[in-house]
């Protein structure tokens, strides 16, 4: 979230799109209702399904799964056509006035693609700004130059007319108009609108561009950095924000530092390649500090090694190989991965094409599952999984883990708020907390490397792991998460003077501006620097005072960065430092005190001194982004599996999504001997026998793959079975009665899965390009373990991901639905 949970109360319009917040983030509705009661805010909901969120929305607009960019492009076009633009904001705080390389060609010129397309990748050399002799982007303050970002944007989205949009999305034009009207009305400086989104936005082959489309819209309306505005990702798990902050993804290190590549063999090369530069004196260009953060991280991990040695210890990834979720299982299926830790993960249910995933697990020599209950993943070899256990050679270990209330530590929620959580009870039996399990593993690994040596033992042997009491045996026992938290914040390793203040070795680093690139500081995650002071762990604070009355609660726990509750908040004030919205200011400049008041201000300097978007090189929000792999402006493409022709352009699907070549597909499929497994496992563009759009989702009563909730009687009572939601019209056509069993098949799974039909008025057929398109939906909460079991929707979903992130496409694919005949 750019903003935070209780900031939703300040919104004048709330757009929930790609999220079912009422079900998956029920507490958010406290603040949604607050905004409606206090500000008369309108709640808009755009979704393929009429959900529990839709039930309480002021306006609901239905869209066909996967057509978000068409809808949002239409909203952007509406804002431009109706002059609902915060002109001062986009001129001063965005790149709207920058001039783009004259050789750039957009999707309007090239029928759906951008200049530089070579095969399935873009050469992005034309996706750049024109710069002056100092290297600063050239501007046209009037934003009339045909090469200005604004004119290019306008031209791009002029094609997204209401007629074209509704033809693709299937939305009632009146509903579309209402959503556009209500939301774009927040372009006024004193108004703000917030966007709440989740996996319905991201889990598409163009999921990242869906989010980009939100950004473009919010920048045009001047809704970023302000109270009641922002782009707010509602994270899918209580600590998933923490897991990404701390680098639990292959392409990033803690604090979103880029992961070193094989071509970057020295720290010096890494720093040169990964430290952006800006020649604009008003740009803070925060990532310019990358060398300080990287040095501090290396020192946190290898305290006694010099920086270059520490860097050499970090494994490097191939420059071009993708190591994300789907490729891991692809390699596993081909027998290239020996062992796996499934640590609180249940891919046997949660991964796409889960049948294939379960077969891939059988290729492992060993599997360690660490969880609260026996999960489908740890039981992939059992009869319930539909396999003969005698054919499986994988050795499986199931380690009992401690649940959240049985361990101590920090949890970072969507508000970027890190809150300390205490242990309430001891875990049962021999269950251990994660840190204890990890420490045992580290100790044993170090012991084996010390005894047996190995190809490269130094990184393991020299790893700093001082999180507990040193026992007589020379090993760490009872590791403490408080010690880990201190290292994450970071401390001085030697006496050092910073900005005229002397810090002694061992002093906590007061904040990331004090981190050093010479190895004199360590910090396990620069973003969390400032979370612990010499006297207190700020994540433990529980002070409910709110002196400004704006809901910042600065003394309740701690949020990154630097306890700033709304990021980019310098964009909420004019050049004199006065807030655009007087009744809900975020920060304001006090000429008397010569200081910013309110929230913690973003970046340094007085009013008008610096550009507000400090994390991008030039300091201005990017309507035009060259960092995306699939285009600087979001463009509508159809889902890989779609029976609808894209009528915006000739490009049916995104040209740069990762497609698995035929050889790889054969290698994966043939030995698997999965019936019906063929190239189409990975997603198929032509499948006339599967005409129904299917989407998957969660319900409030269950959690993820159900590995925690399907063992709880009070929750299984509420939702005991898998179901398939469908319209009354479709059910009638197929002779299906509500509640009876149906078979759902896809090109990957022709034997299909069986579930209960849920015939409802809340689903309606779409009319797309004049033809009827039916849509169904299923939860992905069910598997073969637990008090209740049921068919897994992911046994149907395609093995294809987003062009930028490889997040799997769970939200739009094709199936067929038939009544089960007895």
């Amino acid at each position: 979230m750019t903003n935070h949970w209780n900031d939703i109360q300040h919104a004048d319009a709330i757009l929930i799109m790609g999220s079912n917040a009422a079900e998956n983030h029920p507490i958010s509705f406290k603040w949604v209702n607050e905004a409606r009661a206090k500000r008369g805010a309108k709640l808009l909901n755009v979704d393929p399904r009429f959900t529990r969120t839709s039930a309480v929305a002021d306006h609901y607009a239905r869209i066909r799964s996967g057509t978000d960019i068409a809808f949002l492009g239409g909203m952007i076009n509406y804002a431009i056509r109706n002059n609902r633009i915060n002109w001062d904001y986009i001129r001063d705080y965005s790149d709207a006035a920058y001039l783009v390389n004259p050789d750039f060609r957009g999707a309007a010129d090239l029928d759906g693609v951008f200049s530089g397309l070579k095969g399935s990748t873009y050469d992005k050399s034309t996706w750049s700004y024109q710069t002056d002799e100092n290297g600063v982007p050239k501007r046209d303050e009037t934003m009339q130059d045909p090469n200005s970002v604004f004119q290019l944007l306008k031209k791009h989205y002029a094609r997204y007319t209401p007629e074209k949009v509704c033809e693709l999305t299937g939305t009632d034009p009146k509903d579309f108009e209402t959503v556009c009207d209500v939301f774009t009305a927040t372009y006024l400086p004193e108004k703000s609108g917030t966007i709440m989104y989740a996996m319905g936005t991201t889990q598409h082959t163009y999921g990242s561009q869906n989010v980009r489309a939100f950004s473009v819209l919010q920048i045009l309306l001047g809704n970023i950095g302000v109270a009641g505005g922002g782009i707010n990702a509602l994270r899918g798990e209580s600590n998933v924000q923490g897991s990404t902050d701390h680098g639990a993804l292959y392409h990033i290190l803690p604090g979103y530092l880029k992961y070193p590549k094989a071509s970057e063999q020295s720290l010096a090369v890494y720093n040169t390649n990964n430290t952006p530069k800006s020649n604009d004196p008003m740009s803070i260009n925060w990532w310019g500090n990358t060398p300080k953060y990287m040095a501090s991280l290396l020192k946190a991990w290898w305290r006694d090694a010099d920086l270059e040695t520490g860097y050499s210890y970090l494994p490097k990834i191939d420059d071009t190989t993708n190591y994300s979720y789907l490729p891991i299982f692809n390699e596993m299926a081909r027998g290239n991965i020996k062992g796996m830790f499934a640590w609180g993960m249940n891919p046997a249910v949660g991964a796409p094409s889960a049948r294939l995933i379960r077969r891939a697990l059988a290729k492992l020599e060993w599997l360690v599952a660490i969880d609260l209950w026996e999960t489908e993943t740890s039981a992939f070899w059992q009869k319930e999984a539909g396999v003969d256990p005698s054919t499986i050679n994988t050795e499986v270990f199931l380690l009992p883990a401690a649940a959240s209330m049985e361990k101590e530590g920090s949890v970072a929620n969507s508000s970027r708020l890190a809150q300390w959580r205490y242990k309430a009870v001891n875990p049962p039996g021999r269950a251990e907390d994660d840190l204890a399990i990890l420490t045992m593993l580290v100790n044993k690994t170090k012991e084996l490397y010390a005894k047996e040596g190995g190809a490269f033992p130094d990184p393991i042997l020299n790893l700093s792991w001082n999180y507990g009491k040193l026992g007589l045996d020379g090993k760490i026992h009872h590791p403490s998460p408080r010690e880990v938290a201190k290292e994450i914040n970071g401390f001085f390793l030697v006496d050092k003077e910073v900005d005229g203040k002397l810090y002694k070795a061992g002093d906590m680093v007061p904040g990331f501006p004090a981190l050093q690139d010479d190895g004199s500081t360590c910090s396990g995650n620069w973003l969390y620097c400032n979370s612990i002071s010499d006297t207190e762990n700020r994540m433990m604070r529980r002070d409910t005072s709110d002196p400004t009355g704006l809901g910042f609660y600065h003394n309740w726990a701690w949020c990154w960065p630097m306890n700033r509750r709304i990021i980019y908040n310098r964009a909420s004030v004019d050049k004199k430092g006065q807030p655009f919205a007087k009744d809900k200011p975020v920060i304001w400049w006090s000429p008397l005190k010569k200081a910013w008041l309110g929230d913690v201000p973003d970046g340094g300097g007085g009013p008008g001194a610096k550009h507000p978007f400090i994390m991008v090189p030039h300091g201005r929000a990017q309507l035009f982004s060259a960092s995306m792999t699939d285009g600087p402006f979001p463009e509508h493409y159809e889902p890989l599996e779609s029976q609808v022709r894209n009528t915006i352009s000739a490009a049916q699907v995104s040209p740069v999504i990762m497609r698995w070549d035929k050889k790889v597909q054969e290698e994966v499929c043939d030995p698997m001997l999965v019936e019906g497994c063929n190239a189409a496992v990975f997603g198929c563009e032509e499948a006339p026998e599967f005409p129904i759009v299917c989407t998957t989702y969660r319900v409030v009563e269950h959690w993820q793959t159900g590995q925690m909730t399907r063992w709880l009687p009070w929750l299984t009572e509420l939702v005991p079975n898998q179901f398939v939601e469908m319209s009354e019209e479709f059910a009638k056509e197929k002779g299906i009665r509500n509640g009876e069993l149906v078979r759902v098949t896809s090109i990957r799974n022709r034997e299909g899965i069986i579930a209960n039909a849920y015939v409802t008025k809340r689903f309606k057929p779409f009319t797309i390009n004049g033809e009827t398109v039916h849509q169904v939906g299923m939860t992905w909460h069910f598997g073969y373990k637990g008090l209740v079991t049921g068919a897994n929707a992911n046994d149907l979903s395609p093995f294809v991901g987003d062009a930028n992130t490889m997040i799997p496409e769970y939200k739009a694919f094709l199936v067929n639905v038939e009544k089960v005949r007895r």
Binding site: R52, V56, V699, Y758, K761
Partner: protein
């Protein structure tokens, strides 16, 4: 002791069913074995072990589709039909907090309350031979806490407070959304109130009595026939006493045969 009201604002319910689980948790009620019934509603109905249930109704009319989720539990009537109908003193009691509580120790399992209740709330268990229902968390509210369901509600749909204050709030909210307060029968008031949205009427929702009132059968029985039965019972007792005085105590019959 303060008299309370629980207010249910149907415009704010998101059907998260936190209340349904919190009720089971606080009251130690077991889960039922359920099956999908073609709706998210589950269990399908209130029961001996389910005192609070979110009911889901899909209503399509001129103003489009409405998906109404309704928290259904005891209404805690001012003049409770169940208490009126109950023949066993102490089994069902209207307390000064407004809560109608039941005590299984005094319940004789006659099911009179289950027939009398205009909201079909008390449920009988043949196994336990008594009834059970929502107590408005009497054990919590007399300890200064809110009922478990209200505490769990994230959206502000369920609120709880002193009667006069909540009545004002209910009327204000109903006026704000051009809706109505349910029940709106001045002769039959309750310590639980609903805010009904303008476009939804009670008759459109499952298990919602559009016109709740004291059943006439209960009145007939309790006000008219009960005195006669009491006279009858007194007469029987009197006759027995007379018999005792005239004939002496009943002697056990001597067994024939012996040893």
């Amino acid at each position: 002791m303060t008299e309370y009201i629980k207010l249910i604002d149907l415009t704010k319910c998101t059907g998260c069913r936190g209340c349904q689980v919190a009720c089971k948790n606080w009251n130690g009620l077991p889960a039922e074995k359920t099956q999908f019934i073609g709706s998210l509603q589950n269990p399908a109905d209130l029961s001996y072990d389910t005192w609070c249930l979110i009911r889901f109704d899909e209503i399509e009319n001129g103003s489009g589709l409405k998906w109404v989720m309704r928290h259904d539990a005891c209404m805690h009537c001012d003049w409770p039909a169940c208490v009126k109908a109950c023949p066993s003193p102490g089994a069902l009691v209207k307390t000064e907090t407004g809560a109608v509580v039941h005590d299984p120790n005094f319940c004789i399992g006659c099911k009179a309350c289950t027939v009398a209740c205009p909201f079909d709330i008390p449920r009988y268990s043949a196994v336990n031979e008594n009834i059970s229902k929502c107590t408005l968390c009497y054990d919590r509210i007399t300890d200064g806490r809110k009922p478990a369901c209200v505490t769990s509600c994230p959206t502000g749909c369920l609120t709880f407070g002193p009667k006069a204050e909540m009545q004002v709030r209910a009327r204000a909210r109903a006026a704000e959304i051009s809706g109505v307060v349910y029940p709106n029968n001045p002769k039959y008031q309750t310590n639980v109130l609903y805010i009904m949205p303008a476009e939804i009427r009670a008759a459109q929702l499952q298990h919602m009595n559009p016109n709740p009132k004291m059943p006439t059968t209960v009145l007939w029985w309790k006000n008219l026939f009960k005195p006669f039965t009491l006279i009858g019972m007194g007469a029987v007792a009197g006759a027995a006493m007379l018999h005792y005085m005239v004939r002496g105590p009943h002697e056990p019959e001597k067994k024939e045969g012996g040893e």
